[in-house]
């Protein structure tokens, strides 16, 4: 029995097809966010990979920023719960989840049984999100995905204040013109994100195991900097981007089981 989870984010769409609530039959990521053709594209790609038709899906759940604008879905859940569910599936003893998405940062606290008991999200107008990294990468004329490898060569961590993306932007530009080496700059940007995020993690409480989800988790530089700030190992999965979609697919499966038990 197949269920599908779709995570419509601000900067990317993700899709997971789950078989019998245990096997990932297909997963896909399209770097186009809500309101674009990314939604339909990612569903089509996943269906093709799993070699199934839409009609074969028992239930489709949607999550993410654009979840209210996907009429094909049978139901929707907040990305908070979906990230918790998805991560618990992949890392059974996870208790703290850090998700740095495009628009916001969340830290989820889970009970030993996987239930989400608390969540802390970023203060308004705070740098440290994926958007912040995109803006910084743009100034450095790099792809965001390249940032993770660049700071490995840093000799010093440039100081970038992180209160506001706009001001951090002008700081990076002036340091660029002062010929601060690129690896040092990138290390500074990553440290800036890490400090911001670490504050939220401390507020929620660091309980082992700690894992990261969301696209920024693929940035090794940020992960390194964050692990240093919170004095803890952080589990990164290759599939960290699809955790939300996985959680939605799991919720869809759970719902079907609940209906079945009622009968």
């Amino acid at each position: 029995m197949l269920t599908m989870g779709v995570d419509i984010g601000s900067t990317a769409c993700k899709c997971v097809i789950l078989e019998n609530g245990t096997e990932i039959a297909a997963k896909a990521v399209v770097p186009l966010g809500t309101g674009t053709k990314g939604v339909n594209e990612v569903v089509e790609i996943a269906l093709k990979l799993a070699n199934v038709q839409r009609s074969e899906l028992a239930l489709v759940y949607v999550t993410g920023y654009g979840r209210f604008n996907f009429p094909e879905a049978d139901g929707q859940r907040s990305e908070l719960s979906c990230h918790a569910k998805g991560m618990k599936f992949m890392v059974p003893d996870v208790r703290t989840i850090v998700d740095i998405g495009g628009q916001d940062v969340k830290v989820l606290s889970l009970a030993p049984n996987g239930q989400m008991i608390n969540f802390i999200m970023n203060d308004k107008c705070a740098a440290g999100t994926g958007r912040f990294l995109d803006v910084m990468a743009g100034i450095l004329d790099k792809k965001t995905s390249e940032l993770g490898d660049i700071d490995a060569k840093a000799k010093e961590v440039a100081s970038i204040s992180s209160t506001c993306t706009v001001f951090a932007e002008s700081e990076v530009i002036s340091k660029l013109s002062a010929n601060v080496p690129l690896p040092d700059l990138v290390a500074g940007i990553h440290a800036s994100v890490a400090k911001r995020v670490a504050g939220l993690v401390f507020r929620a409480g660091v309980v082992q195991k700690v894992a990261m989800s969301g696209g920024v988790a693929l940035n090794k530089g940020v992960v390194r900097a964050l692990a240093k700030e919170i004095h803890s190992e952080i589990i990164i999965l290759d599939d960290c981007q699809i955790i939300g979609a996985l959680g939605a697919a799991l919720y869809a499966f759970q719902e079907i089981m609940k209906q079945k038990n009622k009968e």
């Binding site: 989400m116 008991i117 969540f119 999200m121 203060d123 308004k124």
Partner: protein, 428 residues
Amino acid sequence: MTEIAVGDQKAKIKKPLPKSRQMVNEQTAKAYADAWEAKKNHQPIGWSTAIFPQEICETFGVPILYPENNAASVSAKHMGEQYIEHAEGTMRYPINICSYARLNIGMADVLDDDKYVSDPKMPRPDFLLLANNSCTQLMKWYEALSRNLNIPIFFVDCLFNYYEEEPSSHKVKYVRSQIENCIKDLERFLGKKFDWDKFLEVQKISQQNRVLFNEIVELNSRIPAPMSGFDLFNYMAPLVICRGKASTTAIFEELKKEVLEHIENNTSTFPGDEQYRVHWEGIACWPNLGFNLKTLKRYNVNAVMNGYVTAWDVAYEPGDLDGMAKAYQISSTNSLSTPTIMGKRVESMKHFGCDGMLCHVNRSCKLMTFHIHVGREMVEKELGVPIATFDGDQSDTRVFSEAQFETRLQGLVEIMKENKETKEGERD
């Protein structure tokens, strides 16, 4: 609203407001009309902070209006931006000060300018009544008004309770002294003698009104609640701007009757199915009240109780001036330490059967936000219920985000749902 089909078109008929609400609207309209009437007759009127000892001018029979209440009304009607822009622009006030202040300081600067239209409109004040129990920014705001309008301030400095203990006698003495001197100073300014007998009567009415309001709020502890907790944001107005008037007694008696009827008939003013009860912490997001209520309803959440309305529970024995001084000194959420306030919240949440707490991180209100930040772990430890925060502002429309509010509310509901299911599972 109810829809009825009329031919091919659906006509929307607005459900009539309950009698108590109509009475509130009439009372507010009269408060403004009295002030305008006084102005027409060259009689002085005052502007006052929200928790100033209203008994004084009520006794003098001088109309008083409340800029904070006015700012809330104006911004709920989405008419506040023009004044805020004026304060931030021409008048150079930094954007970080309280938005009520920006709105009102901007408004006070253009009182005679017909280009600025808002409702309800306040006439130019002749004097100001300042009590800083709500916050220190009020003091700076009223200093600006005094300077810009060239009118005097009558000040009752209510200090602040930084520890959890009862206010010490030297504090009560100072506040009482100010109340007495304020009366003397107003006698001179108004050219009127203060009627101490009438004062006693006003005190009695004020206490009666306070007690009635508490009784009504208490009725909402019933499960399910007979009122949408958001109604309290509307019904607090009489307590804020007419606390010492008999018309408030009439309103609350009517409201109490209506609520008891709801209990009798097992109905409620909450426009949905109450599945979750939450405590709302912080001031209302006045420009976004409609959206907040609609969204809460969609998720079957009734914000049955909020801490904000308890600030006007100014309790004292009529005739006891020391008691009255102390009451004003401890009245506001912002005049007490976080452990004191959160202690009250914990008791209240237990009593009202709250499954969670929804906190408005109000950009304009540092004090309430401090309470939320510092108090969060105290409430979590005592009650083990989930707490969610969202960003907003009491009158600046640029801060609140509908998507953010919905996401965080949904997250809160998902935890409350799991908690409920776990509890029910344990019971079975």
